[in-house]
C-alpha cells in the first residue's frame, strides 16, 4: 500500500515538474511561482522522505538481510530441524514474525535501538563493498538479555518455570546471559551435518 501511495506521489510530482519543464514561462505569474515551489521543492522532499521511510521499513525484512551472500548460512539455520537451535525454534514456531526474523532478535530494544540497528546496517554495507568481510562473523557486543526479555518477560512459561524464577534478578541485570543455557544459536559451522525442516510454505 505504501509503495502504491509512493508511486502515485512520484507520478504526480514528475507530471507537475514535466509541465514546468515544458512551459517554464508558467513561473512568470505569482501563482506559477507558488506552483513551481510546490513542484520543485515541497513535493520532491516529501517523496524522498516518504521513500526513505519505506526503505527503512523494508530493511527489517528477513529476505532483505538474507539478500547479502554472507548471511545465507544464517538464513539456512532458521530451518534446522532441531528445537534446541534457538533461532530455528523461534522462527519455525512463529515466536517471532517470520518476515522480520533477523530484525526482531538483532535490534536493540532501547529508545534509539532501531536507529542504531540501521547505522550498524550501513556499516555492514560499507564493509561488504569496500573492505574485507571477516571469515567469522560476530556480534559487536555480547547478546543482551534485554532483547530476550522484551518478549519473554511476563510470559507465564518463562516467569513460572525453574530456573528462570530463581535467577530472574540476575537475568534482568544481565549478570547471567540467557545464552549460558540456551547456547545453540545459529551454529553455522555445523550446518552441513544438520537436518532441515521443509518449511510451512513447501
Amino acid at each position: 500500500m505504501d509503495k502504491q501511495i509512493f508511486s502515485v506521489l512520484i507520478i504526480v510530482t514528475v507530471g507537475l515538474i514535466a509541465l514546468l519543464v515544458v512551459r517554464p514561462s508558467l513561473t512568470a505569474s505569482r501563482e506559477g511561482k507558488i506552483f513551481a515551489f510546490v513542484a520543485l521543492f515541497i513535493l520532491p522532499i516529501v517523496a524522498t522522505v516518504y521513500g526513505a521511510a519505506i526503505h527503512l521499513e523494508q530493511s527489517k525484512a528477513t529476505h532483505f538481510c538474507l539478500s547479502c551472500h554472507v548471511m545465507e548460512p544464517y538464513g539456512k539455520s532458521l530451518y534446522v530441524d532441531d528445537p534446541s537451535y534457538v533461532p530455528a525454534g523461534h522462527f519455525q514456531n512463529n515466536r517471532i514474525p517470520r518476515d522480520k526474523a533477523c530484525f526482531t532478535c538483532h535490534t536493540d530494544y532501547t529508545m534509539f535501538g532501531d536507529v542504531n540497528a540501521k547505522i550498524r546496517g550501513l556499516e555492514h554495507l560499507y564493509v561488504y563493498y569496500f573492505k574485507q568481510i571477516p571469515k567469522k562473523l560476530a556480534l559487536y557486543e555480547p547478546y543482551n538479555n534485554r532483547e530476550c526479555l522484551h518478549c519473554h518477560a511476563g510470559a507465564r512459561s518463562f516467569e513460572e518455570t525453574s530456573p528462570h524464577r530463581e535467577m530472574r534478578a540476575q537475568l534482568t541485570a544481565n549478570e547471567m546471559s540467557c545464552l549460558t543455557c540456551h547456547n545453540m544459536i545459529h551454529n553455522v559451522a555445523d550446518l552441513d551435518k544438520a537436518k532441515f525442516w521443509k518449511g510451512a510454505d513447501e
Partner: protein, 63 residues
C-alpha cells in the same frame, strides 16, 4: 505578469530534469528490496533530487 529571463528558465528546466531523474531512480529502487537498492536510493536518487532542489533555490535567489 512579467516574463522570466531565458537564463532562469534554463535553470528551472535543468533543476526539473535533475529532480525527475532522481525521483525515477527513487521509485525504481523501491521495487528492488536489498541493501544495494537503499544505497542507490540515497546515493543516486536522493543526490539528484537534492542537486535539483539546490539548483532551483539558487536560481530563484540569484535572479
Amino acid at each position: 505578469m512579467t516574463e522570466e529571463s531565458p537564463r532562469l528558465q534554463r535553470k528551472l528546466k535543468t533543476a526539473g530534469w535533475l529532480i525527475i531523474g532522481g525521483l525515477v531512480i527513487e521509485a525504481t529502487t523501491l521495487y528492488w528490496s536489498n541493501p544495494t537498492s537503499f544505497l542507490s536510493f540515497i546515493g543516486a536518487g536522493g543526490l539528484l533530487v537534492m542537486l535539483g532542489i539546490a539548483l532551483y533555490l539558487l536560481a530563484i535567489v540569484s535572479r
